[in-house]
């Protein structure tokens, strides 16, 4: 069993008629995802890949029972779309856009906590359980990257995720569920909040986290391990060991930490909690082997 989504998850797509929304909806369906309806204002009555489109989430829910919403709207409209999904009682949401205003992400995080909902993103490729289902934009057709298996992956990155996952697969492993929490400084859901799901998931034998400098998400993972909330083998890959301090490369979640967030601190915390930390992508698979994680 995968986590977050599987073939039974009924997915609504917000922004389904946009070029990205339409393109990736097709891929989601092709992989086996159950996309059952979509929302784009002004487009009710149309269908996209035979999926009916509605003016609003509330109108869609009059005709469909939905488990999750996949949001493909532009960054400036993302907060509104997430709020719409939350207000309509949807508890699993993935929102992809890169470039969401910081304060909008703060509002989204705040609202997600208030609604007790899992909102994944923004600035992410989403969630994929290879050979099962996905919400997002993964090149699942590249088999040297997206192969089914027993390794749970959580990541803050995009390209780096492909890089690391390719290395895991190269070593003979596969992925159970990969969750991109997103590269924004304020992700709506944090690594440690997804750990209990991986802990419970029978398919997942070990977890790989792909971290970054900045923020405290990796420290929170260490904390969850220390507290016994997560007890499976865990390997972390952390880039940025040699990065110059005080510089922000791209949208790395670095800035907003006030002294915390150096890679050394993260390595120390994770190592202390019993995780193994890889210094380069090609070592991740080797460390999984060291932890005697099976290759099934």
């Amino acid at each position: 069993m995968s986590i977050f989504i599987d073939r039974n998850t009924r997915v609504l797509v917000q922004g389904i008629t946009g070029s990205e929304g339409s393109f990736w909806t097709k891929h989601m369906i092709d992989l086996g995802t159950q996309v059952i309806c979509g929302v784009t204002p002004a487009k009710e009555g149309q269908t996209i890949h035979d999926i009916p489109v509605y003016h609003s989430v509330e109108r869609a829910l009059r005709n469909h029972v939905v488990d999750a919403s996949m949001i493909f709207v532009p960054p400036k409209l993302t907060k509104d779309a997430v709020f719409e999904a939350l207000a309509n009682g949807i508890k699993k949401i993935v929102t992809m856009a890169d470039g969401i205003p910081l304060f909008d992400m703060v509002a989204i995080r705040h609202a997600a906590l208030e609604h007790n909902a899992l909102v994944i993103g923004g600035n992410t490729s989403g969630v994929i359980s290879p050979e099962e289902a996905m919400m997002g934009s993964f090149p699942y057709w590249i088999q040297r990257v997206y192969k089914r298996g027993n390794i749970g992956v959580m990541t803050r990155s995009g390209s780096l995720t492909n890089e690391v996952t390719a290395m895991i697969v190269k070593r003979g492993y596969g992925v159970s569920t990969l969750i991109g929490v997103g590269g924004d400084p304020v992700p709506a859901t944090r690594f440690s909040e997804m750990l209990p799901y991986y802990q419970q998931d029978e398919q997942t034998e070990a977890v790989v986290i792909i971290g970054e400098l900045g923020g405290t998400m990796e420290e929170e993972v260490a904390d969850a391990m220390e507290k016994g909330i997560f007890t499976k083998p865990l390997v972390a890959f952390l880039g940025g060991r040699t990065a110059p301090k005080g510089q922000k490369m791209g949208h790395a979640g670095a800035i907003i930490t006030g002294g915390k967030g150096a890679v050394e601190d993260k390595i120390e915390a994770l190592t202390k909690a019993g995780a193994l930390v890889a210094d380069r992508p090609s070592n991740v698979g080797i460390l999984l082997e060291q932890l005697n994680v099976s290759k099934k």
Binding site: P75, K76, D98, G99, I100, P101, L102, F103, V106, A107, I108, R109, H110, A111, A112, L113, S125, S137, F138, P139, I142, T155, R156, S157, G158, S159, L160, T161, N162, E163, A166, G183, P185, V186, P187, R190, I210, E212, L213, G215, T216, G239, G240, R241, T242, A243, G246, Q247, M249, G250, H251, A252, I255, I256, G258, G259, D279, R280, P281, S282
Partner: protein
């Protein structure tokens, strides 16, 4: 986007937060007039975005015009090409305080950080005497409440008169923080003068890049950017940082870039620049390469592994850029992801030797950089 000190102080001023009397000059010949306006003693503050200005000698306290002119002349002549100086009155300081707003990503709140012990070494203080730093979460749906500001003021140990002024200042600072979508808005130091006035001695403001569309009134004057590569990148909106090593990076994504950065260092190489070639920039190969060529590097290393940023489009762009710009240094490519097979073909056809493994590409780039050096 980080603002220059004088820009931040302009914001403070419009928000009703007192700042020292000051004048901004761009040339040596504007200094005398500024000294007349401001008087002596005064402080000459170089307007650069990097930190540690005091330690670098970029802030000078001067007591008379002779010394003042000398410093102005020296600062404008520095190799880093400082484009403006702020001539500022010297304030009678009784006490220094630290006050800032930022974001708490865990709770999804704003965070007020205040220390009555001043902010000269706030990071050290945070570790050694954390109780001297007051952190207060602010529900951004409600905003900073007067009672919170009031409580902070008295926790600082201020007398009632100062506390009332500080409460008002904090409320004004929060409004600015929200108005300008700040990642960080900081007054450090906040002077409490001998006549018990609150004056912002220095300010930092970093505006969320994703919100810049809401702040068209604010921009970094491009003319103030000394470095040509930096200016080109800023014009294109391409994230770019120049270092002083050998290898220009044209990589996609912050995570992959920092990883490549690490791998280069593991192999004994050094970085000439970081340049974001992913996300919305993946079609900008021409401009990206032009910028890298302005940097005195020895090799250009291109590493990507994109999904939406299609490998074939990036490869095609690189081929066109090479054909047009005729680069004077070797280029190493490691382009993977969506349509990677087509990408490899495109690069091969153009006579390049596309690599497919990041570590191999890094090793080759480092080797090439060393060769070129010899």
């Amino acid at each position: 986007m980080k603002l220059f000190e004088y820009q931040v102080k302009d914001l403070f001023n419009t928000a009703g937060i007192a700042i020292p009397k000051s004048q901004l000059i761009h040339r040596v010949d504007q200094a005398s007039e500024a000294f007349v306006q401001i008087g002596f003693p005064c402080v000459i503050k170089s307007q650069v975005l990097s930190g540690g200005r005091g330690k670098a000698g970029l802030i000078q306290f001067v007591k008379n015009e002779g010394k003042g002119m000398e410093e102005v002349t020296r600062l404008f002549a520095l190799p880093q090409k400082i484009s403006s100086l702020l001539i500022e009155e010297a304030v009678d300081i009784a006490h220094e305080v630290y006050a800032s707003f930022t974001i708490d990503p865990l709770s999804g709140s704003a965070l007020s950080i205040v220390s009555a012990a001043g902010g000269v070494d706030i990071e050290t203080l945070a570790i050694e005497q954390p109780h001297k730093i007051l952190q207060t979460k602010i529900d951004m749906n409600l905003g900073l409440q007067a009672y919170q500001a009031n409580h902070i003021a008295y926790e600082c140990g201020f007398d009632p008169e100062t506390a009332k002024k500080f409460t008002q200042l904090l409320l004004k600072l929060y409004r600015l923080f929200v108005q300008y979508d700040c990642e960080l808005l900081e007054i450090n130091p906040l002077f409490i003068t001998k006549s018990n006035e609150l004056v912002a001695g220095d300010g930092k403001c970093s505006i969320d890049d994703n919100s810049m569309f809401r702040h068209e009134d604010i921009s970094i004057p491009l003319g103030d950017i000394e470095n040509e590569a930096e200016r080109l990148a800023a014009e294109e909106g391409i994230p770019f940082i120049q270092f002083d090593g050998d290898i220009s990076l044209m990589c996609a994504g912050a995570g992959l870039t920092t990883t490549v950065y690490d791998l280069v260092h593991y192999e004994g190489g050094t970085i000439a620049n970081y340049l974001e070639f992913g996300g919305p920039h993946y079609k900008k190969a021409m401009k990206a390469m032009e910028i890298c060529l302005k940097v005195p590097s020895k090799v250009i290393l291109i590493v990507t592994f994109g999904t939406i940023a299609r490998a074939d489009v990036m490869a095609q762009g690189i081929v066109e850029a090479i054909s047009k710009l005729k680069p004077d240094r070797p280029i190493v490519t490691c382009i993977r992801g969506t349509n990677e097979v087509e990408a490899v073909e495109t690069l091969r056809k153009a006579g390049l030797n596309p690599l497919f493994d990041t570590e191999e590409a890094v090793r080759l780039a480092v080797a090439l950089a060393k060769e070129t050096k010899i």
